[in-house]
Amino acid sequence: MWDKIKDFSSDFFVTGDPMIYGADVAIVLVSVAILFVLTYFKKWGWLWREWLTTVDHKKIGIMYILASLLMLFRGGMDALLMRAQLAAPDLEFLKPEHYNEIFTTHGVIMILFMAMPLMFGLFNIAVPLQIGARDVAFPVLNSVSFWLFFAGAMLFNLSFVIGGSPNGGWLAYPPLTEKMFSPGVGQDFYIWGIQISGIGSLATGINFIITILKMRAPGMKLMKMPMFSWSVLASCLTIILAFPILTVTLALLFIDRFAGAHFFTLDGGGNPMMYINLIWMWGHPEVYIVILPAFGIFSEVVATFSKKRLFGYKSMVFALMSISIVSFFTWAHHFFTMGSGADVNVFFAISTMIIAIPTGVKVFNWILTMYKGKITFKQPMLWTMGFIPCFVVGGMTGVLLSIAPADFQFHNSYFLIAHFHQVLIGGVVFGYFAGLYYWWPKMFGFSLDEKLGRWVFWLWNIGFYVCFMPQYLVGLMGMTRRYSTYGWDTGWFGLNLTSTIGAFLMGAGFLVQVWQILYSIKNMQKLKDTTGDPWDGRTLEWTIQSPAPFYNFATDPVVSETDDFWEEKQRIAAGGKPRPKPALAPIHMPKNSGMPVVMAGFFFFAGFGFVFDWMWMAIPGLIGVAASMLVHSFRYDTDFYIPVDEVRRTELAAGREV
């Protein structure tokens, strides 16, 4: 019996690596500490009522952002480990099998568990406030989305200490990831982690489309909507068209592994190429899903900090929408080198280049928005200024990559790595940081320290160029991605060492950023935003106090212009009378629900069971999921009204006129 337990646990837990034992200890200690603090300070009820069951989009947004910063830490650690291994030739800091796991988890975590939730967090924080809504269209579904993401992320991360991490690359190409070549459970963690959070993403996509289409304030025509909301709409439309493909693709891979099917296997008539087609039909739109909202953020930030209307609003909307459509016709540029023939390659090369046109137009729009403006370089604007050159260079190398015959040389090399990091860090990460600094006061009621913020900005920026510019060159010299080491004779040492130094500079940037947040919390009173409008903003979210009250708007806002708040301020400054405010009325709000977190728990349970082929665990898990939905369906008492008195009290306490 004892031997059996020992056998089992040596398979079940990842063993043999001091780093992982360290992680085990850290996980246990942190968990115990959290449990202790919650119990000691009697915070369990608070946690349940205020966070776990909340359907308030702002709190859900905060939870998304917290989780994504945590994941940024994990993914960043992976990156630093890789860079440490590559700092010099012939290092044996990480063995190949370990290195393979790390680049796999780095990619998956950064795209799916860092960029996506950070993006959803910003959607949640800003969209309802920007369009003058009290909540999203389906608040409970919104909570379901978050908890499914969280369950998926935890399941994926669990593979670090239990069962072993996936090691087949971030898109897990078969046949390598089939049972025949990857018999371990890591690949199943990959499938279920992404699958569960992917369902959440799909739901968020639907939720925000309906929110934007149906819940805008009276008078806010679509063509008067803030550009960030437009970008969210474009991104969500892309989500609902792309994510079902991912769901099917992962399901098929799982059926292959679980039931011995032959979708992508080498034998039995399987077709691995089909997986590569399918995964990129999701994967390419996916990168536009994450970049489009960043474009929206820059549009808001540039207009606000130039104190000027956004240049070319219609061009901008058209560019957003055309990018999200064309993004579905470019997927095969990820495998020009797989022998599709010249005609197919030309088609996909040109469709890819076409995307550069609307993207270029957007950059011109931002620059022309600055033209004849009054620009202040607060943190959000600083990140935008870092973004434009970085993204333009990244976009240019993207055009180079899209030229099919040239791609035969770039493909799989560090040139490609440098390119997509340049657009993903320089575009997505800088964009979301800009958004985070921009909306932070609205989330928490205080802004983040400017001086430390400048340190963060310069560390990230300099680190970025030091890290990735050498990678272009080393790619041209023939260094292939995913090499766990290289020889002295290659001549790649100097460039790789430089790159590693840059990566650690960015790591330092992240640390200073954490310090900046802690420092700002400590000096909250000094940094307090008392006006609700710290940046002299243009859109509805700045009309209310910071942090936003849980009902958002005391009275339903009415809009007549694009950037209505700005126009209103101009009118008042010119001696006009403020718009009369309607009388307070009871506010209709959704009630909290425990269903989402319970359901996500069951999903986690089921996913874990499937990973280990434990049907006794997986089937009850799925039944639990279904039962949660049924229980929810039987609940009719789902909303309540906030009485006028309470709205008045809250508004007065925030120093607002009623």
Partner: protein, 341 residues
């Protein structure tokens, strides 16, 4: 903002300094695709340079405008013009759309021409007759078989200079990608398919080759040497291998195909007849020969089209079926070509 530009120059300067340090330090560093030694790689590099210059046409003005505007219209500068409501100009927007469209159009035309010209399955023009080398990606090594010379090698390939080399590629393992940067771009090696790559070396020399696509634990060990020599040296080398090396038997191949790393180059005086075809056919899908499969895949493409009729938003799925079909057909015709050889 003055500070900013200074920092940026420093940031850009560091890797440049590293590069100078590196290139002056060791003179014989291999510059990969920047130092082409074959006709394909040379044309690809030219294309890259032309396209880069075209991109700079947009890049440079954008960067200049960004910094100039940021500097000129900073809030601290009191006397700058301020037009808060200026947000539209038909002329500027026409230029803004027009210039990228023109540049992309030029690059698109270039791409179209070069894609057909440099299609890797197209034989290269030369006075010399092409030599055929069959390449099989294994876990984690490269097997080269010479059907005309009757010899085989592992992790080492030799061929005469100024003679077109017709590589036929397949895999008996998860897919990989066959890449000799100095001679030309890579092509994937995939099981069940025979892919084609035509390269030619202009100069004698040893060119590093790589397995460029991740294929499992030790894929990093899949480097090989591609050596171009004069025709006489090549013939002499073939003779030597035939004289002094052992034969590769079927059993020997099966052992070679097992997962593992080989650090040395190996040569064989012979290999089993039809080995490459057997490896390809081992994984060929479908009910019968490659040709039947091709036509059935085309049928299925139509089926998918009919199936999608009337459904919303499925256009990309239709094209997926077509994309797969194309790939399948391409590979099938490859197989057929191969059988004719």
């Amino acid at each position: 903002m003055k500070m900013k530009g200074w920092y940026r120059r420093l940031a850009a300067g560091l890797p440049l300094a590293a590069m100078v340090f590196l290139l002056s330090g060791c003179g014989d560093v291999n510059m990969g695709i920047l130092d082409p030694q074959g006709t394909v790689a040379r044309q690809q590099l030219n294309l890259i340079i032309i396209a880069s210059i075209l991109c700079l046409v947009i890049l440079v003005p954008v960067l200049v405008m960004t910094y100039v505007f940021a500097w000129k219209y900073r809030a601290k500068k009191e006397d700058a013009e301020y037009k808060p409501n200026w947000s539209h100009s038909g002329k500027i927007e026409t230029v803004m759309w027009g210039v990228p469209i023109v540049v992309i159009l030029i690059i698109a035309i270039l791409t179209s021409i070069y894609t057909h010209k440099l299609e890797p399955s197209k034989p290269l023009e030369s006075e010399a007759d092409a030599i055929t080398i069959e390449v099989t990606a294994l876990d984690w090594k490269w097997l080269f078989t010479y059907p005309d010379q009757g010899i085989a090698t592992v992790n080492y390939v030799q061929f005469p200079e100024d003679v077109p080399v017709h590589f036929k590629l397949t895999a008996d393992a998860p897919m990989n990608s066959f890449w000799i940067p100095q001679l030309g771009g890579q092509v994937y090696t995939m099981s069940g398919m025979a892919m084609h790559l035509n390269l030619m070396a202009d100069e004698p020399g040893e060119y590093p080759g790589k397995g460029a696509n991740f294929s499992g634990e030790h894929f990093g060990k899949m480097g090989f040497i591609a050596k171009a020599t004069s025709q006489e040296d090549f013939d002499k080398w073939v003779e030597d291998v035939k004289q002094s090396s052992p034969a590769l038997t079927q059993q020997g191949y099966d052992e070679l195909a097992e997962q593992g790393v080989l650090d040395t180059k190996v040569t064989y005086s012979s290999f089993p007849d039809g080995l490459f075809d057997r490896i390809v056919n081992k994984y060929a899908t479908g009910t019968g020969s490659g040709h039947q499969h091709g036509s059935s895949a085309a049928d299925s493409g139509e089926a998918a089209d009919e199936g999608m009729d009337g459904m919303d938003m499925t256009s990309m799925d239709m094209s997926s079926a077509e994309g797969v079909t194309d790939a399948a057909q391409a590979s099938d015709s490859n197989q057929q070509m191969h059988q004719h050889d």
